[in-house]
Protein backbone atom coordinates (compact mmCIF):
# COMPACT_ATOMS: atom_id res chain seq x y z
CA UNK A 1 0.00 0.00 0.00
CA UNK A 2 1.39 3.38 -1.01
CA UNK A 3 1.68 5.85 1.83
CA UNK A 4 1.09 9.40 0.70
CA UNK A 5 2.99 12.18 2.38
CA UNK A 6 1.24 15.09 0.68
CA UNK A 7 -1.82 16.48 2.36
CA UNK A 8 -4.35 18.77 0.71
CA UNK A 9 -4.50 22.02 2.69
CA UNK A 10 -5.95 24.62 0.31
CA UNK A 11 -9.43 25.93 0.98
CA UNK A 12 -9.81 27.66 -2.40
CA UNK A 13 -8.66 26.83 -5.90
CA UNK A 14 -7.79 30.19 -7.40
CA UNK A 15 -4.95 29.37 -9.74
CA UNK A 16 -2.35 26.81 -10.72
CA UNK A 17 0.40 29.26 -9.80
CA UNK A 18 -0.30 28.68 -6.09
CA UNK A 19 -0.17 24.88 -6.34
CA UNK A 20 2.86 22.69 -5.79
CA UNK A 21 3.76 19.87 -8.14
CA UNK A 22 2.64 17.36 -5.49
CA UNK A 23 -0.74 19.04 -5.17
CA UNK A 24 -1.27 18.95 -8.94
CA UNK A 25 -0.27 15.28 -8.99
CA UNK A 26 -2.66 14.52 -6.14
CA UNK A 27 -5.58 16.03 -8.08
CA UNK A 28 -4.65 14.13 -11.25
CA UNK A 29 -4.29 10.87 -9.35
CA UNK A 30 -7.61 11.33 -7.58
CA UNK A 31 -9.28 12.25 -10.89
CA UNK A 32 -8.31 8.83 -12.22
CA UNK A 33 -10.43 7.19 -9.53
CA UNK A 34 -13.32 9.57 -10.09
CA UNK A 35 -13.28 8.76 -13.80
CA UNK A 36 -14.17 5.17 -12.94
CA UNK A 37 -17.34 6.36 -11.18
CA UNK A 38 -18.56 7.92 -14.44
CA UNK A 39 -18.53 4.47 -16.07
CA UNK A 40 -20.73 2.83 -13.43
CA UNK A 41 -24.37 1.89 -14.10
CA UNK A 42 -25.29 4.50 -11.49
CA UNK A 43 -22.58 7.13 -11.92
CA UNK A 44 -23.18 8.87 -8.63
CA UNK A 45 -21.73 8.69 -5.12
CA UNK A 46 -23.21 10.15 -1.91
CA UNK A 47 -20.06 11.98 -0.80
CA UNK A 48 -21.18 15.62 -0.90
CA UNK A 49 -24.77 15.06 0.22
CA UNK A 50 -26.07 18.13 1.98
CA UNK A 51 -23.49 20.48 0.45
CA UNK A 52 -24.67 23.33 -1.74
CA UNK A 53 -22.54 24.58 -4.59
CA UNK A 54 -23.25 27.80 -6.45
CA UNK A 55 -22.21 28.40 -10.04
CA UNK A 56 -21.69 32.15 -10.26
CA UNK A 57 -20.96 32.83 -13.89
CA UNK A 58 -20.51 36.46 -14.87
CA UNK A 59 -19.35 35.54 -18.37
CA UNK A 60 -20.78 33.12 -20.95
CA UNK A 61 -19.85 29.44 -20.65
CA UNK A 62 -21.30 26.13 -21.78
CA UNK A 63 -18.67 23.50 -21.12
CA UNK A 64 -17.18 24.70 -17.87
CA UNK A 65 -20.49 25.47 -16.20
CA UNK A 66 -22.13 22.23 -17.35
CA UNK A 67 -19.04 20.29 -16.34
CA UNK A 68 -18.88 21.77 -12.83
CA UNK A 69 -22.60 21.28 -12.38
CA UNK A 70 -22.42 17.67 -13.46
CA UNK A 71 -19.37 17.03 -11.27
CA UNK A 72 -21.24 18.43 -8.27
CA UNK A 73 -24.32 16.35 -9.04
CA UNK A 74 -22.29 13.16 -9.49
CA UNK A 75 -21.09 13.77 -5.93
CA UNK A 76 -24.67 14.33 -4.73
CA UNK A 77 -24.25 18.04 -3.94
CA UNK A 78 -27.07 20.48 -4.61
CA UNK A 79 -26.28 23.06 -7.25
CA UNK A 80 -27.57 26.53 -7.88
CA UNK A 81 -26.88 28.47 -11.06
CA UNK A 82 -26.62 32.21 -11.00
CA UNK A 83 -26.07 33.69 -14.44
CA UNK A 84 -25.46 37.40 -14.65
CA UNK A 85 -27.63 37.99 -17.65
CA UNK A 86 -30.67 37.37 -15.45
CA UNK A 87 -29.32 38.52 -12.08
CA UNK A 88 -29.24 41.69 -10.05
CA UNK A 89 -25.79 42.58 -11.42
CA UNK A 90 -27.76 44.34 -14.11
CA UNK A 91 -29.49 46.38 -11.45
CA UNK A 92 -26.12 47.56 -10.18
CA UNK A 93 -25.50 45.20 -7.27
CA UNK A 94 -21.82 44.81 -6.53
CA UNK A 95 -20.06 41.47 -6.79
CA UNK A 96 -19.41 41.44 -3.07
CA UNK A 97 -23.07 42.09 -2.23
CA UNK A 98 -24.28 39.40 -4.62
CA UNK A 99 -21.88 36.88 -3.13
CA UNK A 100 -22.63 37.81 0.49
CA UNK A 101 -26.33 37.45 -0.22
CA UNK A 102 -25.92 34.07 -1.83
CA UNK A 103 -23.75 33.03 1.08
CA UNK A 104 -26.45 34.08 3.52
CA UNK A 105 -28.50 31.26 1.99
CA UNK A 106 -26.03 28.82 3.64
CA UNK A 107 -23.96 27.56 0.77
CA UNK A 108 -20.61 25.78 0.89
CA UNK A 109 -18.83 26.58 -2.35
CA UNK A 110 -18.88 29.24 -5.04
CA UNK A 111 -17.61 28.40 -8.50
CA UNK A 112 -16.92 31.65 -10.22
CA UNK A 113 -16.21 32.94 -13.68
CA UNK A 114 -15.62 36.63 -14.16
CA UNK A 115 -14.24 38.90 -16.87
CA UNK A 116 -11.95 40.67 -14.38
CA UNK A 117 -8.65 39.03 -13.49
CA UNK A 118 -8.48 38.50 -9.74
CA UNK A 119 -12.24 38.57 -9.10
CA UNK A 120 -12.25 35.11 -7.41
CA UNK A 121 -9.31 36.18 -5.22
CA UNK A 122 -11.27 39.25 -4.16
CA UNK A 123 -14.29 37.11 -3.40
CA UNK A 124 -12.34 34.47 -1.46
CA UNK A 125 -11.16 37.07 1.04
CA UNK A 126 -14.69 38.31 1.66
CA UNK A 127 -16.83 35.19 2.00
CA UNK A 128 -16.55 32.13 4.20
CA UNK A 129 -17.41 29.70 1.42
CA UNK A 130 -14.80 27.89 -0.63
CA UNK A 131 -14.14 29.68 -3.92
CA UNK A 132 -13.16 27.95 -7.15
CA UNK A 133 -11.89 29.96 -10.08
CA UNK A 134 -13.63 28.88 -13.28
CA UNK A 135 -11.80 31.50 -15.34
CA UNK A 136 -10.93 35.07 -14.41
CA UNK A 137 -10.25 37.56 -17.18
CA UNK A 138 -6.94 36.86 -18.88
CA UNK A 139 -5.43 35.45 -15.70
CA UNK A 140 -6.11 31.77 -14.91
CA UNK A 141 -8.47 28.89 -15.63
CA UNK A 142 -7.07 26.26 -13.29
CA UNK A 143 -9.47 23.37 -13.88
CA UNK A 144 -8.96 23.64 -17.64
CA UNK A 145 -5.21 23.24 -17.17
CA UNK A 146 -5.79 20.30 -14.84
CA UNK A 147 -8.03 18.52 -17.32
CA UNK A 148 -5.61 19.25 -20.16
CA UNK A 149 -2.67 17.76 -18.27
CA UNK A 150 -4.88 14.86 -17.16
CA UNK A 151 -5.74 14.22 -20.83
CA UNK A 152 -2.08 14.35 -21.87
CA UNK A 153 -1.18 11.94 -19.07
CA UNK A 154 -4.01 9.62 -20.09
CA UNK A 155 -2.96 9.60 -23.76
CA UNK A 156 0.83 9.63 -23.44
CA UNK A 157 1.30 8.06 -20.00
CA UNK A 158 3.22 11.00 -18.52
CA UNK A 159 3.79 14.72 -18.71
CA UNK A 160 7.39 15.04 -17.55
CA UNK A 161 9.88 15.60 -20.35
CA UNK A 162 7.25 16.00 -23.08
CA UNK A 163 7.25 18.85 -25.58
CA UNK A 164 3.96 20.71 -25.46
CA UNK A 165 3.10 23.62 -27.75
CA UNK A 166 0.39 26.15 -27.04
CA UNK A 167 -0.73 27.86 -30.22
CA UNK A 168 -2.81 30.97 -30.83
CA UNK A 169 -3.85 34.01 -28.84
CA UNK A 170 -1.53 33.67 -25.87
CA UNK A 171 -1.99 37.26 -24.68
CA UNK A 172 -5.71 37.00 -23.95
CA UNK A 173 -5.68 33.39 -22.82
CA UNK A 174 -6.17 32.34 -19.21
CA UNK A 175 -6.06 28.76 -20.52
CA UNK A 176 -2.53 29.35 -21.80
CA UNK A 177 -1.36 30.86 -18.51
CA UNK A 178 -2.77 28.08 -16.35
CA UNK A 179 -1.47 25.45 -18.73
CA UNK A 180 2.03 26.92 -18.69
CA UNK A 181 2.08 26.86 -14.90
CA UNK A 182 0.81 23.30 -14.72
CA UNK A 183 3.03 21.91 -17.46
CA UNK A 184 6.17 23.62 -16.17
CA UNK A 185 5.54 22.38 -12.63
CA UNK A 186 5.08 18.85 -13.96
CA UNK A 187 8.36 19.03 -15.86
CA UNK A 188 7.22 19.46 -19.47
CA UNK A 189 8.95 21.66 -22.04
CA UNK A 190 6.53 24.32 -23.23
CA UNK A 191 6.60 26.29 -26.47
CA UNK A 192 4.16 29.09 -27.20
CA UNK A 193 3.40 30.12 -30.76
CA UNK A 194 1.22 32.85 -32.27
CA UNK A 195 1.32 36.25 -33.95
CA UNK A 196 3.65 38.73 -32.27
CA UNK A 197 0.72 41.01 -31.47
CA UNK A 198 -0.96 38.21 -29.48
CA UNK A 199 2.18 37.32 -27.52
CA UNK A 200 2.43 38.94 -24.08
CA UNK A 201 5.63 40.81 -23.35
CA UNK A 202 8.10 38.85 -21.21
CA UNK A 203 6.19 35.59 -21.56
CA UNK A 204 9.61 33.90 -21.74
CA UNK A 205 10.02 34.77 -18.05
CA UNK A 206 7.56 31.94 -17.38
CA UNK A 207 10.17 29.54 -18.69
CA UNK A 208 8.66 28.88 -22.09
CA UNK A 209 10.13 28.99 -25.57
CA UNK A 210 8.58 31.56 -27.88
CA UNK A 211 8.25 31.05 -31.62
CA UNK A 212 6.35 32.79 -34.39
CA UNK A 213 6.85 29.88 -36.78
CA UNK A 214 4.12 27.23 -36.71
CA UNK A 215 6.50 24.66 -38.14
CA UNK A 216 8.79 24.99 -35.15
CA UNK A 217 5.83 24.67 -32.78
CA UNK A 218 4.65 21.47 -34.47
CA UNK A 219 7.86 19.62 -35.25
CA UNK A 220 8.94 18.38 -31.85
CA UNK A 221 5.56 18.51 -30.14
CA UNK A 222 4.09 15.48 -28.38
CA UNK A 223 0.90 17.42 -27.76
CA UNK A 224 -0.46 20.76 -28.91
CA UNK A 225 -3.09 22.90 -27.28
CA UNK A 226 -4.77 25.10 -29.87
CA UNK A 227 -6.43 28.16 -28.41
CA UNK A 228 -9.56 29.85 -29.60
CA UNK A 229 -9.12 33.03 -31.57
CA UNK A 230 -11.32 35.38 -29.62
CA UNK A 231 -13.06 36.98 -32.57
CA UNK A 232 -14.75 39.48 -30.27
CA UNK A 233 -11.33 40.95 -29.48
CA UNK A 234 -10.23 41.26 -33.07
CA UNK A 235 -11.77 44.68 -33.46
CA UNK A 236 -8.47 45.98 -32.11
CA UNK A 237 -6.81 44.82 -35.33
CA UNK A 238 -4.26 42.61 -33.66
CA UNK A 239 -3.69 40.78 -36.91
CA UNK A 240 -4.46 41.93 -40.45
CA UNK A 241 -7.20 39.44 -41.33
CA UNK A 242 -8.68 36.11 -40.30
CA UNK A 243 -7.54 34.75 -43.64
CA UNK A 244 -3.94 35.63 -42.90
CA UNK A 245 -4.17 34.09 -39.45
CA UNK A 246 -5.58 30.86 -40.88
CA UNK A 247 -2.81 30.73 -43.42
CA UNK A 248 0.03 31.23 -40.94
CA UNK A 249 -1.25 29.68 -37.71
CA UNK A 250 -4.44 27.73 -38.50
CA UNK A 251 -3.98 24.02 -37.88
CA UNK A 252 -5.02 21.84 -40.80
CA UNK A 253 -4.33 18.32 -41.99
CA UNK A 254 -1.71 19.47 -44.44
CA UNK A 255 0.41 21.18 -41.75
CA UNK A 256 0.04 18.24 -39.36
CA UNK A 257 0.94 15.64 -42.00
CA UNK A 258 3.95 17.67 -43.04
CA UNK A 259 5.40 18.70 -39.69
CA UNK A 260 3.85 16.83 -36.75
CA UNK A 261 4.63 13.53 -35.06
CA UNK A 262 2.39 10.64 -36.03
CA UNK A 263 1.00 10.15 -32.51
CA UNK A 264 0.47 13.84 -31.80
CA UNK A 265 -2.20 14.67 -29.24
CA UNK A 266 -4.30 17.63 -30.36
CA UNK A 267 -6.29 19.56 -27.77
CA UNK A 268 -8.58 22.57 -27.86
CA UNK A 269 -10.32 24.04 -24.81
CA UNK A 270 -13.42 24.88 -26.88
CA UNK A 271 -15.47 26.45 -28.24
CA UNK A 272 -13.84 25.92 -31.63
CA UNK A 273 -13.98 28.46 -34.42
CA UNK A 274 -14.06 25.88 -37.18
CA UNK A 275 -12.06 27.02 -40.16
CA UNK A 276 -10.07 29.53 -38.09
CA UNK A 277 -7.67 28.02 -35.55
CA UNK A 278 -8.66 24.46 -36.51
CA UNK A 279 -9.77 23.22 -39.90
CA UNK A 280 -12.89 21.08 -40.13
CA UNK A 281 -11.06 17.81 -40.87
CA UNK A 282 -8.58 18.22 -38.04
CA UNK A 283 -11.16 19.15 -35.39
CA UNK A 284 -12.84 15.76 -35.86
CA UNK A 285 -9.73 13.96 -37.09
CA UNK A 286 -7.46 11.24 -35.77
CA UNK A 287 -5.23 13.49 -33.67
CA UNK A 288 -8.09 15.19 -31.86
CA UNK A 289 -8.82 14.34 -28.20
CA UNK A 290 -11.18 17.29 -27.79
CA UNK A 291 -14.13 15.20 -26.62
CA UNK A 292 -11.92 13.20 -24.24
CA UNK A 293 -11.00 16.53 -22.69
CA UNK A 294 -14.67 17.22 -22.02
CA UNK A 295 -15.23 13.80 -20.40
CA UNK A 296 -12.06 14.15 -18.34
CA UNK A 297 -13.19 17.60 -17.25
CA UNK A 298 -16.00 16.13 -15.16
CA UNK A 299 -13.67 13.66 -13.41
CA UNK A 300 -11.04 16.33 -12.70
CA UNK A 301 -13.65 18.71 -11.30
CA UNK A 302 -15.08 15.94 -9.10
CA UNK A 303 -11.59 15.44 -7.67
CA UNK A 304 -11.23 19.18 -7.06
CA UNK A 305 -14.63 19.46 -5.36
CA UNK A 306 -13.88 16.42 -3.21
CA UNK A 307 -10.46 17.62 -2.05
CA UNK A 308 -11.64 21.16 -1.31
CA UNK A 309 -14.69 19.88 0.57
CA UNK A 310 -12.42 18.04 3.03
CA UNK A 311 -10.95 21.27 4.34
CA UNK A 312 -12.46 22.37 7.60
CA UNK A 313 -12.36 25.85 9.01
Amino acid sequence: MKKRSIKWTKKHLLGIEDLSREEIELILEQAENFKEILKRPIPKVPTLRGKTIVNLFCEPSTRTRASFELAAKRLSADTLNVATASSSFLKGETLKDTARNIEAMKIDMIIMRHSCSGAPHFLSSRVNATVINAGDGTHEHPTQALLDTFTIKGKLGKVEGLNISIIGDIAHSRVARSNIWALKKLGAKVTVCGPKTLMPAQIDKMGVKVTYDIREALEKADAINVLRIQLERQKKNLFPSIREYVKRFGINKEKLDKFAKKNLVLMHPGPINRGVELSQDVADGEYSVILDQVTNGVAVRMAVLFLLSQIKE
Binding site: M1, R4, K7, W8, Q30, E32, N33, F34, E36, I37, R40, P41, I42, K44, V45, P46, T47, L75, A303, F306, Q310, K312
Partner: protein
Protein backbone atom coordinates in the same frame (compact mmCIF):
# COMPACT_ATOMS: atom_id res chain seq x y z
CA UNK B 1 -2.03 7.81 20.31
CA UNK B 2 0.42 5.10 21.26
CA UNK B 3 -0.46 1.43 21.18
CA UNK B 4 1.15 -1.63 22.66
CA UNK B 5 0.84 -5.12 21.36
CA UNK B 6 -1.16 -7.31 23.71
CA UNK B 7 -1.60 -10.69 22.10
CA UNK B 8 -0.98 -12.47 18.83
CA UNK B 9 -4.12 -14.28 17.68
CA UNK B 10 -3.04 -15.71 14.35
CA UNK B 11 0.32 -16.31 12.74
CA UNK B 12 1.12 -16.93 9.08
CA UNK B 13 0.01 -20.53 9.21
CA UNK B 14 -3.09 -19.64 11.19
CA UNK B 15 -4.16 -17.07 8.60
CA UNK B 16 -3.66 -19.56 5.75
CA UNK B 17 -5.64 -22.28 7.53
CA UNK B 18 -8.45 -19.91 8.42
CA UNK B 19 -8.78 -18.63 4.87
CA UNK B 20 -8.78 -22.22 3.61
CA UNK B 21 -11.65 -23.03 5.94
CA UNK B 22 -13.59 -19.92 4.91
CA UNK B 23 -13.11 -20.88 1.24
CA UNK B 24 -14.56 -24.33 1.92
CA UNK B 25 -17.51 -22.89 3.79
CA UNK B 26 -18.19 -20.46 0.94
CA UNK B 27 -18.09 -23.40 -1.45
CA UNK B 28 -20.46 -25.50 0.68
CA UNK B 29 -22.87 -22.60 0.99
CA UNK B 30 -22.93 -21.81 -2.71
CA UNK B 31 -22.17 -25.07 -4.50
CA UNK B 32 -25.55 -25.27 -6.20
CA UNK B 33 -24.88 -21.96 -7.93
CA UNK B 34 -21.12 -21.89 -7.96
CA UNK B 35 -21.12 -20.50 -11.54
CA UNK B 36 -22.64 -17.28 -10.24
CA UNK B 37 -20.20 -16.82 -7.37
CA UNK B 38 -18.02 -13.71 -7.23
CA UNK B 39 -15.73 -12.38 -4.49
CA UNK B 40 -15.37 -8.68 -3.73
CA UNK B 41 -12.94 -7.34 -1.14
CA UNK B 42 -13.07 -4.07 0.76
CA UNK B 43 -9.88 -2.08 0.25
CA UNK B 44 -7.19 -2.55 1.17
CA UNK B 45 -6.72 -5.60 3.33
CA UNK B 46 -10.12 -7.09 2.51
CA UNK B 47 -9.16 -6.92 -1.17
CA UNK B 48 -5.95 -8.88 -0.56
CA UNK B 49 -7.89 -11.48 1.41
CA UNK B 50 -10.51 -11.68 -1.38
CA UNK B 51 -7.75 -12.48 -3.87
CA UNK B 52 -6.44 -15.25 -1.65
CA UNK B 53 -9.88 -16.74 -1.00
CA UNK B 54 -10.67 -16.69 -4.72
CA UNK B 55 -7.41 -18.51 -5.41
CA UNK B 56 -8.26 -21.19 -2.86
CA UNK B 57 -11.78 -21.50 -4.27
CA UNK B 58 -10.34 -21.92 -7.74
CA UNK B 59 -8.42 -24.94 -6.47
CA UNK B 60 -11.65 -26.43 -5.10
CA UNK B 61 -13.99 -25.50 -7.96
CA UNK B 62 -11.50 -25.88 -10.79
CA UNK B 63 -12.41 -22.64 -12.56
CA UNK B 64 -11.72 -18.92 -12.17
CA UNK B 65 -13.88 -17.02 -9.70
CA UNK B 66 -14.40 -13.33 -10.61
CA UNK B 67 -12.72 -11.03 -8.07
CA UNK B 68 -13.28 -7.33 -7.50
CA UNK B 69 -12.38 -4.65 -4.99
CA UNK B 70 -14.31 -1.70 -3.60
CA UNK B 71 -12.94 1.48 -2.09
CA UNK B 72 -15.58 2.83 0.26
CA UNK B 73 -14.13 6.31 0.91
CA UNK B 74 -16.83 8.17 -1.03
CA UNK B 75 -19.61 6.33 0.82
CA UNK B 76 -18.40 6.97 4.36
CA UNK B 77 -20.74 8.58 6.87
CA UNK B 78 -17.89 10.14 8.85
CA UNK B 79 -16.00 12.08 6.18
CA UNK B 80 -16.39 15.27 8.16
CA UNK B 81 -15.15 13.65 11.36
CA UNK B 82 -12.08 11.65 10.41
CA UNK B 83 -8.85 13.26 11.47
CA UNK B 84 -6.78 11.76 8.71
CA UNK B 85 -7.45 13.18 5.27
CA UNK B 86 -9.34 10.66 3.17
CA UNK B 87 -7.88 9.70 -0.19
CA UNK B 88 -9.98 8.00 -2.82
CA UNK B 89 -8.66 4.75 -4.23
CA UNK B 90 -9.94 2.87 -7.23
CA UNK B 91 -12.90 0.53 -7.18
CA UNK B 92 -12.27 -2.38 -9.51
CA UNK B 93 -15.31 -4.40 -10.49
CA UNK B 94 -14.93 -5.38 -14.14
CA UNK B 95 -17.85 -7.78 -14.32
CA UNK B 96 -21.62 -7.30 -14.13
CA UNK B 97 -22.71 -8.08 -10.58
CA UNK B 98 -26.40 -8.37 -11.45
CA UNK B 99 -27.63 -11.89 -10.65
CA UNK B 100 -24.30 -12.83 -9.01
CA UNK B 101 -23.91 -14.37 -5.57
CA UNK B 102 -21.44 -11.92 -4.05
CA UNK B 103 -19.21 -12.73 -1.12
CA UNK B 104 -18.00 -9.46 0.41
CA UNK B 105 -14.67 -9.82 2.23
CA UNK B 106 -13.08 -7.65 4.90
CA UNK B 107 -10.30 -8.19 7.42
CA UNK B 108 -11.94 -7.03 10.66
CA UNK B 109 -15.66 -6.64 11.35
CA UNK B 110 -16.26 -4.05 14.09
CA UNK B 111 -19.08 -1.46 14.06
CA UNK B 112 -20.42 -2.66 10.71
CA UNK B 113 -20.26 0.83 9.21
CA UNK B 114 -17.65 -0.09 6.62
CA UNK B 115 -19.81 -3.00 5.48
CA UNK B 116 -22.81 -0.65 5.22
CA UNK B 117 -20.76 1.60 2.89
CA UNK B 118 -19.69 -1.36 0.78
CA UNK B 119 -23.28 -2.61 0.49
CA UNK B 120 -24.46 0.81 -0.69
CA UNK B 121 -21.65 1.00 -3.21
CA UNK B 122 -22.26 -2.54 -4.52
CA UNK B 123 -25.92 -1.85 -5.10
CA UNK B 124 -24.96 1.13 -7.28
CA UNK B 125 -23.22 -1.39 -9.56
CA UNK B 126 -26.26 -3.63 -10.13
CA UNK B 127 -28.62 -6.04 -8.42
CA UNK B 128 -26.83 -9.14 -7.14
CA UNK B 129 -28.81 -12.32 -6.37
CA UNK B 130 -27.43 -12.10 -2.82
CA UNK B 131 -24.57 -10.65 -0.82
CA UNK B 132 -22.83 -12.70 1.86
CA UNK B 133 -20.20 -11.43 4.26
CA UNK B 134 -16.89 -13.09 5.08
CA UNK B 135 -14.46 -11.64 7.63
CA UNK B 136 -11.17 -12.86 9.01
CA UNK B 137 -11.84 -11.44 12.48
CA UNK B 138 -15.11 -10.46 14.18
CA UNK B 139 -14.29 -8.29 17.18
CA UNK B 140 -17.87 -7.41 18.14
CA UNK B 141 -19.30 -3.96 19.10
CA UNK B 142 -21.73 -3.70 16.17
CA UNK B 143 -23.49 -0.38 15.71
CA UNK B 144 -25.64 -1.52 12.78
CA UNK B 145 -27.76 -4.64 12.21
CA UNK B 146 -25.08 -6.46 10.20
CA UNK B 147 -23.86 -10.02 10.76
CA UNK B 148 -21.21 -12.07 8.98
CA UNK B 149 -21.93 -15.35 7.16
CA UNK B 150 -18.36 -16.61 7.40
CA UNK B 151 -16.05 -15.78 10.32
CA UNK B 152 -12.39 -16.75 10.58
CA UNK B 153 -12.14 -16.09 14.30
CA UNK B 154 -14.31 -14.42 16.91
CA UNK B 155 -12.20 -12.17 19.10
CA UNK B 156 -14.07 -10.46 21.95
CA UNK B 157 -12.38 -7.11 22.56
CA UNK B 158 -12.73 -4.01 24.67
CA UNK B 159 -13.40 -0.73 22.84
CA UNK B 160 -10.01 0.69 23.78
CA UNK B 161 -8.39 -2.33 22.18
CA UNK B 162 -7.99 -2.78 18.47
CA UNK B 163 -7.32 -5.69 16.15
CA UNK B 164 -4.64 -5.33 13.54
CA UNK B 165 -4.42 -7.65 10.58
CA UNK B 166 -0.99 -7.47 8.99
CA UNK B 167 -0.58 -8.93 5.52
CA UNK B 168 2.51 -9.32 3.40
CA UNK B 169 0.94 -7.28 0.54
CA UNK B 170 0.54 -4.18 2.69
CA UNK B 171 2.54 -4.61 5.86
CA UNK B 172 5.33 -7.04 5.06
CA UNK B 173 4.17 -9.42 7.83
CA UNK B 174 1.57 -12.17 8.23
CA UNK B 175 -0.15 -11.97 11.60
CA UNK B 176 -3.18 -10.81 13.52
CA UNK B 177 -2.60 -9.03 16.83
CA UNK B 178 -4.68 -7.35 19.48
CA UNK B 179 -3.27 -3.97 20.43
CA UNK B 180 -4.21 -1.77 23.32
CA UNK B 181 -4.04 1.94 23.87
CA UNK B 182 -0.99 2.71 25.96
CA UNK B 183 -1.62 4.67 29.13
CA UNK B 184 0.32 7.89 29.25
CA UNK B 185 2.96 7.54 31.94
Amino acid sequence: MAFKEKAKILDKEGIAKTLQRIAHEIFENNKEEIKNLAIIGIKHRGAYLAERIAQKLKNVVGSEIPVGAVDITLYRDDLTEVAQQPIVHSTEIDFDITGKRIVLVDDVLYTGRTVRCALDELIDFGRPACIQLAVLIDRGHRELPIRPDFVGKNVPTATKESVEVRLKESDGAEEVVVIEEKKQA
